[in-house]
Symmetry: C2
Subunit: 296 residues, 2 copies
């Protein structure tokens, strides 16, 4: 079993670190916020008082941070992970961040002879607790192979999406389709209601037709057809609208930076901006149907 550092002990990092411990690994957790460190300690995660201590002699360090600026600071600042990690330590960033930062930090790690992966996850807090996350991984194949047994303690699917940054790229593309299709399905249900077409009937027809999509058949935004979907519990997340907005903004930013044309992805971002501005950041992202029902 391995010595593993874990940086970022928030809603996602804490249950992920606990899965590593449950698999028998020796984890040293760190969070820049003392209350998060204390909560992690109370949950049974051994913590250290400084970032550098997560890396000393560790086989791997995982990071789970809110945004690109946090990742850049934790890796690249004086005393950051790239300065303190030894040549045998694998660095795995599971944060969901912008592509440019992910690739910059990868390049800086490479230049210093340090192995690194970008490995954002999907599956949310529930998946982190259950150890059923999907890891979308960018980096060298040999590094992916090293990280795989550790990720397997926290996830069920580990997919290699290509070189540095491609884990972020894959997640961003997937979630852009997800956000757009959730709105499309919501618009269809809202239109059906207005014209007197029963929701269950619409579900039955579309779910076996060319409109079929995961947003409909696994995460239906109206109560009834899919009992496990958040619509059946008043849109308690699940996957929050704020997280969906974050991912749509990352996709929009990458599109702008790389000259790609994503009109519906960008439109979906502005609809989620509007939904979050209505005070719904913490609701499940499928709750956007309530805004669309408002009429137009």
């Amino acid at each position: 079993m391995a010595e593993i550092g874990f940086v970022g002990l928030g809603n996602m990092g804490r249950p992920m670190a606990l899965r590593l411990i449950a698999a028998g690994h020796a984890v040293r957790g760190f969070d820049v916020a003392a209350p998060a460190r204390e909560a992690a300690g109370a949950a049974g995660i051994p913590t250290v008082e400084e970032l550098a201590a997560t890396a000393a002699g560790a086989e791997a360090v995982f990071t789970m941070l809110p945004a690109g600026a946090d990742v850049r600071a934790v890796y690249c600042d004086a005393g950051g992970l790239l300065a303190v990690a030894g040549p045998d330590t694998l660095l795995v960033d599971s944060s969901t961040i912008d592509l440019e930062t992910a690739r910059d930090v990868h390049a800086e790690a490479s230049a210093g002879g340090i192995a690194m992966l970008d490995a954002p996850v999907s599956g949310g807090v529930g998946g982190a607790e259950a150890g059923t996350l999907t890891f979308m991984v960018g980096g060298e194949a040999s590094d992916v192979a090293r990280g795989e047994p550790l990720m397997a303690a926290m996830g069920r699917n580990i997919v290699h999406a290509g070189g540095p940054g491609n884990g972020q790229a894959a997640k961003m593309c997937n979630n852009m389709i997800l956000g757009v299709s959730m709105i499309a399905v919501s618009e269809a249900f809202a239109l059906a209601e207005r014209v007197g077409l029963d929701a269950q009937t619409l579900f039955d027809i579309v779910s076996t037709a060319s409109g079929q999509c995961w947003s409909l058949t696994s995460y239906c935004p109206v109560p009834g057809p899919v009992p496990s979907s958040p619509a059946n519990r008043d849109y308690r997340a699940g996957f929050t609208a704020a997280m969906m907005l974050k991912d749509l903004r990352l996709a929009r930013g990458a599109a702008q930076a790389n000259g790609a044309n994503t009109p519906l992805g960008s439109h979906a971002a502005s609809l989620y901006e509007q939904y979050c501005a209505d005070g719904e950041e913490g609701s499940d992202f499928s709750g956007i149907i309530r805004m669309l029902r408002g009429g137009g």
Copy 2:
């Protein structure tokens, strides 16, 4: 076997009428355009010279017409089907038209004691030729039961979507989701290309994740992952961009008329308007990825 009238012998109506004949029914075809009548006759469909002759003593009359105005004329004009059909003739409109016309004509038929169904189809010319169409049917259950054996000669799925007009409503909602999701998937592939994420890798990841949708996994807009998709034959339709635009406009019109809010559906309509204006009306609707790749 039944005497059946068939009005509208175009690209869809002709092969549908031929399926009825192949099932042993006696068909009398009519089209307002003499060349279409002649082509149908040459293809083996007995034709009549007047609309009224399709209905005389017929068990059912099917109509397959381009737009709502045509349906209104064929049913409601002096000498139209509602004037000439007997009380025992079932009228089945398989045209894809606006909801308002569908419901108006239904109401007029009802007022005259004539049984009618709206039964638009999906599956395209290929599905019509193979007899594998899906019929989405609105009307009284007892009338659907009468029409079902006849529709079964032309289609594989006959789904009852509710009362008058609900066949149109179901098709419109399904195809709005389809059009939006095809663009979303295309945007994702175009973005992936720009950021160096391989198309097959993106397909493999998204097809088992929350971005999964029929547009990706059954009709992938890039060549390779789904061998049967039109992307592999230079976007030869398939389902034309013009037909998708028609359906998106019907959805937009119904949304406007009924106070529903369909921002991404309407945006998809304008993107298909732009694609068709580029001279791509006859291309498969998945070819819109070529426009999106243009950059932005």
